[in-house]
């Protein structure tokens, strides 16, 4: 039942289930037949009553009663059969579940084999070592620079930052200068150095 890919072999259980189900079908068909008979007997009884033949109507009804008792009996049998089929089918499911659990257990065992405490500890140790090693390299690299070199690096950093800032502020300052197209352009001359001052100020601030 577990594997769908290939067609399983027909086991004796399979045949037994099929046998049971076929018996059940026969009972169902038999019930259908009785149902028809029941209806017919009732029709006959009615017809006899209509023509005033009471005795015959009673006989028909008696026959009907008998058929009804048969139907009840088959009902019981059908129930037993259905139950049996269900039980077997459920047991088969249980078997397959058990089989699945067993397989799962095996797999789990295999996995645990791979994951014993020692190898985990060893792995953890190795990881720790690797981390230490990494840290050492970092330290070594940091310590290898002289004080001068470190200063130079800091200077370069400052310069870079300043440049970045200048570029940003340069864009920002030029914007307001555009609308100064007033006819009183005499005061323009001091305005230019003022702008340069601003630039310097910004550079210094950075």
């Amino acid at each position: 039942m577990g594997a769908n890919q290939s067609i399983p072999k027909i086991t004796p259980q399979d045949r037994a289930i099929l046998d049971l189900k076929l018996q059940r079908d026969k009972l169902k068909q038999y019930q259908k037949k009785i149902q028809v008979v029941l209806e017919r007997e009732q029709a006959i009884a009615k017809a006899h009553l209509a023509t005033g033949q009471k005795d015959r109507a009673v006989i028909a009804l008696r026959r009907r009663k008998y058929q009804q008792s048969l139907l009840l009996k088959t009902d019981g049998q059908l129930e037993t059969l259905e139950e049996l089929v269900s039980t077997i089918e459920f047991s088969l499911v249980e078997v397959s579940v058990l089989h699945g659990l067993k397989q799962g257990n095996e797999v789990l065992k295999e996995i645990h084999k791979e994951m014993n405490i020692e190898s985990v500890e060893k792995l953890m140790d190795e990881t720790q070592e690797a981390r230490e090693y990494q840290r050492e390299i970092g330290e070594l690299l940091a310590n290898n620079l002289t004080a001068d070199e470190e200063d130079a690096v800091q200077d370069e950093l400052m310069q870079l930052q300043a440049e970045v800032l200048r570029e940003e502020s340069a864009d920002g300052v030029e914007l307001p200068s555009v609308p100064t197209h007033e006819p009183i352009a005499v005061e323009n001359t001091p305005a230019v150095p003022a702008r340069e001052e601003t630039r310097e100020r910004v550079a210094l601030a950075a």
Binding site: M1, N4, I7, D14, L18, K21, L22, D25
Partner: protein, 190 residues
Amino acid sequence: MSFSTFTTPTGFLLPSVHSAPPFFTQQPYPGTNATVTEQWITLILAYARHRKLFVLRVEDAEITDNDWQEVVRNERINRKLLPSYLSSIIATMVSKNLATYDPPGQTRSALLYWRLPEEWAEVLHGWAISTGQLNTILTFYEIADPPIPSPLSNIPINLLRKAIAVLAKTGRSQLIAVADGEGVRLFQGK
């Protein structure tokens, strides 16, 4: 005067050609006959699908009061399909694989393929999946007469057998036989 469609008591919409008197006579001119017969076949299959009818007999044109009444007769124009013509229509259907004589060896009764066996195979497989009956042993009786009505209710055993055979080709079915009868087990397949 013009010919129009008509809705039958069972809710089937008959095409306008069904109200044309000559539709019920077999045509002597081959071209016309082919056309008219083609229209009959379409009508028969559509009606069979509508009423879930599986069998068509020449007899259905001979006796009144059968499942095919609404189609093989038109009381409004007082016409009926003649048995000889119905027999010829059935023969055409068989030749086009839209029906098969069932039981084989006679030409009075045919199994209609408003679904081909291949299509029935898929219906059967789909039903088994949706009702959780894969890998279970099923009798033909419980497929054809299930407690809850299904698309397969009343399917003739011979047609069911064909559908099972189609599924077997792709490893999706397995026939099991015991002394008392047969059963089938369906699988998921690839």
